[in-house]
């Protein structure tokens, strides 16, 4: 086993995805009053999930990217931002990020113990 295995790399990718997702949500909230604005979102989970079965090199290649949400607009000013939705996504994403960092922290602690540097 290598020092940093697939799980560690996967966690790192997920962390970077969640961070990018926070950017997209912040952008959506900043543009809550911009007429005609289309909301953005990041779906890193599905790409990561698919790559996981293919092994480490695939996981390493996963690059989360921002996509514009093309779903139907329900606001009269043509903006597709729903502030309640954004707030919920943001809360969820923040918790997810926290969970990933916690797991990463435990894994680093395990590694550190194994190395004997604890």
């Amino acid at each position: 086993m290598e020092l940093f295995d697939t799980t560690q790399i996967g966690l790192e990718r997920a962390l970077s995805g969640a961070s990018l997702r926070q950017q997209a949500i912040a952008q959506n909230i900043a543009n809550v009053n911009t007429p005609g604005y289309r909301r953005q979102d990041v779906d890193f989970q599905s790409a990561l999930h698919a790559a996981w079965d293919e092994g480490e090199s695939s996981v390493e290649r996963v690059a989360p990217s921002v996509a514009v949400d093309q779903s139907a607009v329900m606001r009269a000013d043509g903006s597709s931002v729903d502030i309640d939705n954004e707030a919920a996504s943001q809360a969820k994403n923040g918790l997810q990020y926290e969970a990933i960092t916690s797991v990463m922290k435990v894994r680093t602690a395990i590694l550190r113990t194994a190395i004997g540097g604890a």
Binding site: S19, Q23, A26, Q27, I29, A30, N31
Partner: protein
């Protein structure tokens, strides 16, 4: 780069919403102004918001483009910007008040096209949007602190 972009986006939202509040306050303050700086009755002002494009000169943008967008984020978030403050062209109100110094020969005074109810709802809307931006900024900050925590 990373979470700082999220904080920047929220920051631009904060200043945009604050400007909306400023303009709404000006409209309310001038709701009865029959003579502006140009001698005409006051016209309601409105802030036009627009999604901000990339600023080619910002450090993060230059760095990200030099790295081929590898610095965790394809440089997509630039927040919001104010594209202008425009005057509302809707018709001015006319009220009958012959004693007013600005009344015309028929006794009618042209009043500003400011509707207090509209202004109040605008004020609530911008104040709530401001709060939402603060929350987004706080979340980004918490996330970043968590990352720094990994180093401990």
């Amino acid at each position: 780069m990373g979470l700082f972009d999220a904080i920047d986006a929220s920051g631009s939202g904060l200043s945009a919403e604050r400007l909306r509040m400023d303009v709404t306050s000006e409209n309310l303050a001038n709701a009865q102004t029959t003579k502006g700086a140009d001698g005409q009755p006051y016209r309601r002002k409105e802030v036009v918001l627009q999604e901000a494009g990339a600023t080619a000169t910002s450090f993060a943008t230059v760095l990200s483009s030099l790295q081929g967008g590898r610095s965790g984020g394809a440089g997509v978030t630039h927040g919001v910007k104010v594209s202008g403050i425009v005057e509302d062209a809707t018709a001015l109100k006319r009220i009958y008040d012959p004693g007013h110094p600005d009344a015309d020969k028929n006794g009618y005074v042209t009043m500003p096209n400011v509707n207090t109810v509209t202004e109040m709802t605008d004020l609530i809307s911008s104040s709530r949007a401001y709060e939402a931006n603060v929350t987004a900024m706080q979340t980004a900050k918490t996330m970043f602190t968590k990352t720094l925590d990994l180093l401990r």
